[in-house]
Subunit: 110 residues, 2 copies
């Protein structure tokens, strides 16, 4: 009924899905790539770089911050965003573990 039944899955499954979900929008992929490229930047920079309205970018930044992949420092009237290295590494390990599962020996079904 429109809401995910998280309670029937284990913590690992929910965590993998949560991280993947946040990465599952091209605007957030673009924001993360830009932060990797230029280390730090402001919301306004991302607005002009990406081409979505300021409230939209702000909303995507909020989601990235909420899950811990980025952090923001207030600098006067501006806010400086950057990758949260520790949490990025944590997320990366969780995703790598999932992606690196051993493929079955037999390539085809049944």
């Amino acid at each position: 009924m429109g809401l995910t039944k998280t309670e029937i899955f284990n913590d690992q499954q929910n965590e993998i899905a949560s991280f993947a979900k946040v990465i599952g929008h091209p605007a957030r992929v673009a924001i993360l790539q830009q932060l990797f490229k230029i280390d730090t930047c402001h919301c306004g920079d991302l607005v002009s770089e990406i081409g979505l309205a300021q409230p939209t970018i702000s909303q995507h930044l909020k989601e990235l911050k909420q899950i811990g992949l980025i952090k923001g420092n207030v600098e006067g009237t501006s806010v400086c965003y950057c990758i949260d290295a520790v949490n990025w590494a944590k997320m990366k390990n969780i995703m790598l573990q999932f992606l690196n599962q051993d493929l079955p020996k037999i390539d085809d079904c049944c």
Copy 2:
């Protein structure tokens, strides 16, 4: 307005987001893990294993099949699903490239 502006992003960004989006639900994570664990299985097995209704599992299988991560073989009245090894490897490479981006030298913002 409710729809992602894919046209303002490049192919790589859209592809990363598409793969991540499909993995961004715990039921699909669970389905993939189960297929890795037991190599092949039927829709009914996943229904009893995961605990969602049959139409719901069927819908998730459809999404996984649509993006190419799994394939299904018809076997009488049953369908045998398995990981699509080639496409899984392709997806993995795309995601690894994104996850392995070099972290900035300075850990903190600005």
